[in-house]
Symmetry: C3
């Protein structure tokens, strides 16, 4: 069974930096299976990368190695870590990029990359994705024990992930993600909504608009209608049937969303 | 020989939804070979997806499994189908997405996906690409018989694909596709043009411009010249040498194109 | 060990042309490992493609086959060539696309593709990537000797790659590449900078701005500060900490950069 290595970066499309990482990995393990997750994370946007990793990586086979390079602090004192979270493995700068994953599932092992013998012989100051993370990922894919990478540590750098306020007849959350359809994904989970006896009478307020009812799927409203529903990842989202809620509401990350019932 | 599964969606670039589908497929068959065809189909644009599938998928090895998720009706009563068309296999919502392929080559087998035993244990209302199509594609790639997916049916949902009017000295067609170079690809086939004795004297009218002659290849005109030629897929196209016909003519899908001789 | 074939084109995202090439390659060698390098090279921009190939391809395992299709002269008299450069193999139109690579490392073998027996049976006038390069790449990946493709030649078409002027206390170069972060990569190499005794006192002039000092990595300046440093490919680059130098300076390819000390 070939080992899978995924790649998530903020390099942009068609970057020679990504090609270099793939070349380094394949030079060490030509049999590895490479999967691109995303390279269009906004430059240096660690929060966006952290959210993406939390949504995208948990569906992969146990033991998959996920390499994430959103690394504004490259070459400074920030650490690079290996982390085992759930049944997945991660390599990333320790700058919060794994903090959304770690907030849901406590990492079972965290190791700081210190043993340079597994890195490229010459390490640049500006591209540790190629010079450190790529060769280490390739070695791990060949079966190297993570213990050989460096010392264990007990925790990762955390980011502040505010949780929605859940009250007796109200939940106040926010938009955390906008998908390719313009759906506004919030941090309000389906579990928080179980208190609502009749979803058809609940209201969702966002950007001055009030949406009546929480629907089951996109096709339940006529085209161009604003709607609220629980999406495929288990979060409340605001959508426009056959359209873009992001365009309609000028919604963006951080926009407040209130559900009342 | 590894089985190939291709993916065509309207999810946009770097979508966690695509990563989730890949993760589900690889969890069931880690040896499968995944090929991305396109994820930049305009959201919910079934016609564009149908045209793309018809151009892009027929070059693959016999038996390749093509998964297409442009699915505005997800969670409603629309069906999901398996179709064997030519020597390729398809999984898609039955919303017209396979209709351009089926208009050229009658499907030899169409099966409605009904047997939930091959799906993810919990199926969301909004993402059947991940919960139904991905696991079914993976099972097919492992050799499962399509008959086990559900009952056979005799036809697919069709879209209205208008054919060019072919007259004695004139063909009236339209632009159906704009490629990455800004070439305007029409629905006028090379077969329709065989009636023209002298291509150098034919004219092509589009957006108020008249192009004299049908050329053989892009390099035959000086840079920035508007030209007509038969492209690599066998359709008449309007191009600008070293430039973009789409930008020059504000051409878009549906723009009328008339060839006279 | 599976053979690797990489693909670099100007087809744009989600192009059916790319899918067709992959389909042709996989039909001949289903076990080949396909790696996308870039498909967002600006249409017909041979120089940009040449720079990208020079940066991106040298990291791959020895013997990797790199197929590059930026081919404004398709169907005219321009040749298609196989070239062995360094330890990598290339297939490309002979239009300068390999000239940046060849300027660094003299090709050890150049062969003109002439033997049509290795091509698709019917070759279009407008898409030699699919009809000639893809099947030839697949045959090479199966072990075919390059000699069977056609006659050897001694040189490739060259483009004019101006070198920086290196003087006693000054180097005048130019921006040749802008990466996804907006960093302006110049043609001034780290080797040219060794003459500088104290980098903290050197100045870099670009677009009317003067930057003091040459830094080691991005994190050494406070956010939004303009800086100069030697990037991961060994070239001097102008960057903005946590920002885009391209946006700040309106920098583009050809912008003059002067280092003084």
């Amino acid at each position: 069974m070939p080992q899978i290595v995924t790649l998530t970066t903020d390099f942009g499309l068609g970057s020679p930096y990504l090609a270099a990482m793939k070349g380094v990995i394949l030079s060490i393990n030509p049999a590895v299976r490479l999967v691109d997750i995303a390279h269009t994370v906004a430059p240096q946007n660690i929060r966006q990368g952290a959210l993406l990793l939390a949504e995208a990586t948990t569906w992969f086979p146990a033991g998959t190695i996920h390499v994430a390079v959103i690394d504004p602090g490259v070459g400074t004192e920030r650490r690079i870590v290996y982390a085992h979270i759930g049944d997945q493995q991660y390599l990333a700068p320790d700058n919060g990029l794994l903090s959304r994953l770690a907030a849901k599932t406590r990492p079972s092992r965290i190791i700081v990359l210190e043993n340079a013998e597994h890195w490229l012989p010459s390490v640049s100051n500006t591209f540790h994705g190629r010079d450190i993370m790529a060769p280490v990922a390739a070695q791990l894919s060949l079966g190297m024990e993570p213990d050989r990478l460096g010392p264990s540590i007990s925790g990762l750098v955390e980011l502040d992930w505010t949780a929605p306020q859940v009250e007796r007849n109200r939940i106040v959350g926010e938009v955390v993600w906008i998908d390719g359809f313009g759906n506004l994904i919030t941090d309000i989970t389906s579990a928080m909504l179980v208190a609502i006896a009749d979803r058809s009478r609940a209201t969702t307020e966002i950007a001055g608009e009030t949406i009546r009812g929480i629907d089951r799927t996109y096709g339940e409203r006529v085209a161009r209608t604003l709607m609220a529903l629980v999406g495929s990842s288990g979060y409340l989202e605001v959508a426009v049937a056959d359209g873009s809620a992001a365009a309609r509401l000028s919604g963006k990350s951080g926009t407040q969303v209130t559900v009342r019932w």
